[in-house]
């Protein structure tokens, strides 16, 4: 297997998400590796058909939430109880617990704030998206009305082309990937 062949990929374009789903199942059934699929909108069940692992984003959000809660508890304890325990309107500030109900709105908001923002930032980092990032779109039609499946070629170009043509692809291109 030469280096030239290894950098070659096949781009199969589809114009319907149902046909795409069937194609994915067929290609997976023939044990070909699907490198990437580009869609103009989310296709329900595509990740499962491709065999992608479920996201762990929700788990990170839960941990970020706990972090936010801890920050809120520390903040209210340090500022209101430990550092300068003033009598403000008769609120009991002998300990954090006695004044706890007054801190709940802050605890809630900081929990949500940390969970939401850190999760979004995690998503950006994991998806490698940021402002001024160069778009990685192989074909502009995939943002409008076409679906594109990318499969690496390992000396089986003709076999793959035949398979993809049978799945209903409207266009099949062999592309050199840099």
């Amino acid at each position: 297997m030469g280096a030239h062949e290894a950098s070659k990929v096949i781009h199969a374009l589809y114009n319907d998400d149902e046909i795409l789903m069937d194609a994915v199942k067929k290609v997976k059934g023939e044990h070909h590796h699907i490198e990437e699929i580009f869609c103009p909108f989310p296709v329900h069940g595509l990740d499962k058909a491709m065999g992608l692992a479920p996201t762990r984003l929700a788990i990170t959000a839960f941990m970020y939430g706990i972090t936010g809660l801890s920050v809120a508890i520390w903040l209210t304890w340090y500022t209101m109880i430990h550092d300068w325990p003033q009598d403000i309107g008769g609120k009991p500030n002998f300990s954090w617990a006695t004044n706890m109900p007054a801190f709940v709105p802050i605890m809630f908001e900081l929990t949500v704030f940390f969970a939401a923002h850190l999760m979004v930032i995690t998503f950006y980092m994991r998806s490698k998206i940021w402002p001024f990032k160069e778009a990685e779109n192989p074909d502009p039609r995939t943002t409008d009305d076409h679906f594109l499946m990318e499969i690496p070629v390992h000396g089986n170009e003709e076999e793959l082309k035949t398979l993809l043509a049978a799945t209903g692809a409207v266009e099949i291109n062999v592309v050199d990937k840099h």
Binding site: M21, H44, G45, A58, F62, P101, V104
Partner: protein
């Protein structure tokens, strides 16, 4: 068609019989005379259970001792106030400034609902002072002890009525929202609401008993409350007599129950008609009636809660109380639907119910648990923060006498469900959902307990035979009515236009057990 199994029937009957025995035993053990009550109190303090009677007397005496030592020991009062539900206010005569030579003091002992005022001579013998106080106190405790079997019955009754009613409301919401997921659960919900009629009748019986002065559940029904000059005259409650008066209260109560039962009767009949209807008009009629019901329900539910629960504390009021009680019953109702669904499904009577339906029910259990906590906290925190005495007494009583239950229910109704049901995978595992549900139901029973008991039995509460008996009785009744109603109709609401969608309902995130992965997309 479903067959109400003999074993389940036996279980329901056993629960009802055992429960009825427990309730009867509660009434049998309640003190009949003041002397009985005193004996019970003596036993209690001997066992050190609720040494409230002695604690209170001692507390008053301590204050006197301090005053003898320091004539200006006024600072102590603020500390004493937070000591128990009893607020001791001392009114000093002029002679007080002369220190130990003060001759007479007026001590007012204010309890949460009742006001006992008595004059005490400080220089009289300690015995005399102790006894006169004890007598008034004994009478108070006597009424609370007499209330206990009634209150035990009432808590369970209101709990099961609320749960049944909110299943009906949840069902009406599903119709009005034209929900696509829940049609396969319609017959389950309808079956549970069959419990509404019997509990409504029992409630009317209990309310009539209160009306006839057979119990002291509602303190405002005490004779003389609205009669100026009478020793029981209560100007605050009298000011509310336009709303809180027995005949008008009774009429309202019957009206609420009538509206709810009328809708339940109509919708059940027409839902079965829908199965064989030849066009969409039956469905549309059911939709329209459900819209009207929900409108009436929101009004009558709020008012019923004022009348039946907030009315137990006629000195206290809270604006969002109706919503808060709604939330308690709503989460319990969804949990009950889940339990019955999981049971019937495990027996094979609901073949079209899949893991996604369980997942959705668990999501509602989770969401409404948080909603309940939101309202519970919103009500508590606003009152705690502003600390206006006429509102705070409500929570002071609960925090002092019911601390374990009061704080425990927040753990049961919020912390436990949020940790257990936050994970998407767990929400479709039946035994996991059942585990969460048991804690949620127990927690919301405790919630209703803490709403009702402080106003009716005060510090004399316990969770014993009368309470457990009442729960068992109504649980047996619920099982009986639910499953016999489920056996009377097709388990699938066939005529509903959304039935197909409901049968193929699939939440994208979960794998259905016992189903081919390709069966859906």
């Amino acid at each position: 068609m479903y067959q109400f199994s003999g074993r389940l029937k036996t279980l329901a009957i056993a629960f009802m019989v055992l429960g009825a025995l427990g309730v009867a035993l509660g009434f049998y053990n309640a003190p009949k005379t003041l002397e009985d009550a005193k004996e019970i109190m003596a036993n209690q303090s001997a066992h050190g259970a609720h040494g409230n009677d002695h604690g209170e007397t001692k507390h008053v005496e301590e204050t006197h001792t301090e005053k003898k030592e320091d004539a200006h020991a006024e600072d102590n009062h603020s500390e004493e106030n937070s000591h128990s539900e009893v607020i001791v206010e001392e009114v000093h005569g002029d002679s007080h400034s002369e220190g130990e030579s003060h001759s007479e003091e007026v001590i007012e002992v204010k309890e949460v609902d009742e006001v006992h005022a008595e004059k005490l001579d400080t220089h009289a013998s300690d015995n005399a002072h102790g006894t006169s106080h004890d007598d008034a106190h004994a009478e108070h405790v006597f009424h609370q002890l007499q209330n206990r079997p009634w209150a035990a019955l009432y808590v369970a009754l209101i709990f099961f009525l609320g749960v049944t009613l909110l299943v009906l409301a949840f069902y009406a919401i599903q119709r009005v929202a034209q929900a696509g997921w829940s049609i396969v659960l319609f017959r389950v919900m309808e079956a549970i609401t069959a419990n509404l009629l019997p509990v409504s009748l029992i409630l009317i019986a209990v309310l009539v008993a209160s009306f006839m002065h057979m119990n002291h559940l509602f303190s405002w029904m005490t004779e003389g409350t609205f009669t100026p000059g009478h020793e029981n005259y209560d100007p605050i409650v009298d000011g509310k007599s336009g709303w809180i008066n027995a005949p008008w209260w009774m009429i309202r109560s019957v009206f609420y129950l009538f509206v709810w039962n009328a809708y339940r009767w109509f919708i059940r009949r027409n839902s079965i008609k829908e199965d064989t209807a030849e066009n969409i008009s039956t469905y549309k009629k059911n939709y329209n009636v459900s819209v009207i019901f929900l409108f009436l329900f929101m009004i009558t539910e709020s008012m019923a809660v004022w009348d039946w629960i907030m009315g137990l504390d006629p000195h206290w009021f809270s604006t969002l109380f109706g919503w808060y009680v709604l939330a308690t019953f709503l989460v319990s109702a969804v949990t009950t639907i889940t339990f019955v669904t999981i049971y019937l499904r495990s027996k094979g009577y609901l073949p079209k119910v899949n893991d996604s339906h369980i997942h959705d029910l668990a999501k509602f259990m989770f969401g409404f648990s948080v909603f309940w906590t939101y309202l519970w906290f919103a009500q508590f925190m606003l009152i705690w923060y502003a600390d206006i005495p006429e509102e705070t007494t409500y929570y002071a009583m609960r925090f002092n006498e019911y601390k374990g239950l009061f704080l425990g229910m927040v753990v049961m109704n919020f912390v436990f469900p949020i940790l257990l049901l936050i994970n998407s995978d767990f929400k479709s595992i039946p035994w996991f959902v059942v585990m969460g549900g048991i804690v949620i139901l127990a927690g919301h029973y405790v919630d209703v307990f803490v709403m009702i008991m402080p106003a009716t039995v005060g510090a004399q509460w316990a969770i014993g035979i009368p309470e457990i008996g009442a729960i068992l009785f109504f649980l047996g009744l619920l099982i009986w009515t639910t499953f016999s109603a489920f056996a009377k109709a097709d388990p699938v609401a066939k005529g509903n236009p959304f039935l197909g969608e409901s049968e193929h309902f699939h939440y994208y995130n979960i794998e259905h057990r016992g189903e081919d992965a390709d069966a859906h997309h």
